[in-house]
């Protein structure tokens, strides 16, 4: 398994973990009517702003663990054209999902959606795109090309 393939696995697992936590947190907020006031967008953002540093921290920790595990192996961090091809493939999936989420959000807002709902749709599309992108990367490695 290459360094990039391992990174895709970690990305997939951390994405599923973070998205699950956020989904639970947001569903609790929606049920508690905390997102019905005028400051709904601010409450929504405050509830999930921690996701950004958490994702960075998980990625950094995974890189440190990989580096420790591959100590003494000079080829452990080789990234070649196949890795880059799969990286672009995954990014393409993320871009499509994010684009669709943005379009859904704009259409939803024009139809009178509540702002936190629209933001949740956008966040969901990014999260699903990230998970799907990592899944596509892993599938590409498994298939071979």
């Amino acid at each position: 398994m290459t360094h990039q393939e391992r990174a895709s696995f970690v990305g997939l697992l951390s994405g599923i973990l973070l998205t699950t936590f956020v989904a639970v947190r947001l569903s609790m907020l929606f049920r508690s009517d905390a997102l019905s006031g005028e400051d709904a967008a601010q409450v929504w953002a405050s509830a999930i702003v921690w996701v950004i540093p958490a994702a960075i921290a998980i990625s950094a920790m995974a890189n440190i663990l990989f580096a420790m595990a591959a100590k003494g192996d000079p080829n452990a961090r080789v990234v070649d054209e196949r890795d880059r091809l799969f990286e672009y493939r995954g990014m393409g999936v993320l871009l499509i999902a994010t684009g669709l989420g943005f379009i859904a959000m704009v259409i939803g807002l024009s139809l009178g959606w509540h702002v936190p709902v629209a933001l949740t749709v956008l966040y969901g599309s990014v999260a699903i795109g990230d998970i799907a992108g990592n899944a596509v990367r892993i599938a590409s490695y498994r298939i071979g090309g």
Partner: protein, 85 residues
């Protein structure tokens, strides 16, 4: 558009070269062992640059390493240009 199929004999050439390992070839060509494995199984078509680097690492001309078929007919990469002229 004609159907192009690219095959290779990297596996045989590795064994001809003192049973060179996939890892050794990958190190010499500047890619991962997994990429060499995927190319050998024809699951991944390398870029022209990587194909040249693999040929150099194996010490053989490119046409000895990679073979091309166009609509099922083998193409002689080394002399195709001459035939056209």
């Amino acid at each position: 558009m004609p159907e192009i199929r690219i095959t290779n004999v990297i596996r045989r050439l590795r064994f001809d070269r003192d049973e060179m390992t996939q890892q050794a070839l990958a190190n010499a060509a500047g890619c991962t062992r997994q990429t060499i494995a995927a190319i050998e199984k024809a699951k991944y078509a390398p870029s022209f640059e990587l194909a040249v680097r693999i040929a150099i690492a194996l010490g053989r001309p490119l046409a000895d390493v990679f073979q091309v078929e166009c609509d099922g007919e083998p193409i002689d990469l080394a002399h195709r240009g001459d035939e056209k002229a």
